[in-house]
């Protein structure tokens, strides 16, 4: 290989970049809240991604953006694009299959088979790599929308 292009599983990420990822200052919290709920087969599930996904006509993300974009569950895969800033993760899996990052179709199948109760009407994406403290206010605002959509299980999907 000319440039020594490396693999992108974390263990194989170049040392300098891996050290950046592992060396990120992560917040700690005084409490560890955890919410109970009904059996999985009765739960309404929404996806919250940090892949920087959005509808084609929605505003692209900029590095450090703390807000989210809403993705209705009936949005055609062809209308969803990504404007995440990091060049250091694979995008070809997502190009081949949107479910690799936003598994709405899989969740619908699981709902149809009775494994989960239902799939939320709306799903959401943040920009990855934004420091959590900057997302706090928008996360609390998002919680209200999720509750209004009767969601009682949030699947958080990184990229």
């Amino acid at each position: 290989m000319i440039y020594g292009v490396s693999m992108v599983r974390l263990a194989d990420v170049p040392e300098a970049e891996r050290n950046v990822i592992l060396g990120l200052a992560l917040p700690t919290y005084d409490t560890n809240p955890a919410v109970a709920g009904p059996p999985l087969r009765e739960r309404r599930v929404a996806v919250v991604s940090t892949a920087g996904l959005h509808r084609r006509n929605d505003r692209p993300f900029r590095p450090g953006d703390e807000d989210y974009r809403v993705i209705p569950g009936d949005t055609a895969a062809s209308e969803i694009i990504m404007s995440h800033a990091s060049p250091n993760f694979d995008r070809t899996g997502y190009q081949a299959d949107i479910n690799i990052a936003l598994p709405i179709e899989r969740l619908r199948e699981m709902a149809a088979d009775g494994e989960i109760g239902s799939v939320a009407d709306l799903h959401y994406s943040f920009m990855g790599a934004t420091e959590p403290e900057y997302m706090e206010a928008t996360a609390h605002e998002l919680a209200r929308h999720l509750i209004a959509d009767k969601v009682d299980a949030v699947l958080l999907v990184p990229i």
């Binding site: 974390l10 955890a34 404007s83 995008r91 299959d97 949030v154 990184p158």
Partner: protein
């Protein structure tokens, strides 16, 4: 992910998550997480394999059934995905058209785009989608903007974006367009093979590397700021 989990659980919403960086999850201790041994960018593991993806989802969602006394729960998903296998050695040929020109970057990139266009169209036809389009330009305009960047020309703004954001999104679009075309060609390439091919053998990759070199010392602040995200960290 851990921060979002904390904020949502605080507000009364149960969360479970997929973890790609186990060390982060260990540190932040969200109530429920499934660590997966997949490459960054593929949290569900294997594209176009519904059964595989269902197993990952089931692993993450089943954690919601565990009693609160068990949290924080961090479980390892042990099934590997194909994308994490070694480079398979196959290369992805680009059949350059026999066009006479001066060999400039602009002309070579234009040739590459022409030679791949039929594959890109096939990809769109087959998959019904493309992730190209973030910069709201045509592929020819994307190529012009990036070749221009090599020469120090600030890319035209699209959708009121900064010059830096335009440059970044144009770079993403060029990568998306070329790799979507490549994956429509016969044979299966791993993510690693495709990445190596793009950066080592395509004019598109050469263009982005050159644009990075030029942009990182630009007088335009937003452009200079975005330059590093044009290429992978190990190539900077």
């Amino acid at each position: 992910m851990g921060g979002l989990s904390h904020f949502l659980e605080t507000d009364g919403l149960a969360t479970t998550q997929i973890s790609l960086v186990r060390e982060h999850t260990e540190a932040m201790k969200p109530p429920r997480a499934l660590w997966v041994p997949f490459i960054l960018g593929r949290p569900l593991g294997e594209p176009n394999d519904a059964a595989f993806q269902r197993r990952v989802l089931r692993g993450a969602l089943d954690l919601l059934e565990r009693p609160l006394g068990d949290v924080p729960i961090l479980v390892d998903h042990t099934e590997e995905a194909d994308g994490a296998t070694e480079l398979d050695g196959r290369t992805c040929p680009v059949n350059y058209l026999p066009v006479e020109h001066d060999g400039s970057l602009a002309n070579r990139l234009a040739d590459e785009i022409v030679s791949l266009a039929t594959w890109y169209e096939l990809s769109v036809e087959r998959t019904g989608r493309t992730v190209f389009g973030g910069a709201a330009m045509t592929i020819d305009e994307v190529a012009d903007a990036l070749v221009g960047a090599v020469d120090g020309a600030v890319a035209a703004n699209a959708e009121q974006l900064s010059a830096g954001d335009t440059l970044r999104l144009a770079g993403e679009d060029l990568k998306a367009w070329v790799t979507e075309a490549a994956t429509a060609q016969p044979g299966k390439m791993t993510a690693y093979a495709l990445k190596a091919w793009f950066w080592e053998q395509t004019v598109a990759g050469e263009t982005l590397l050159a644009a990075y070199q030029s942009s990182k010392t630009s007088d335009n602040e937003s452009w200079r700021y975005q330059a590093p995200v044009l290429i992978p960290a190990e190539l900077r």
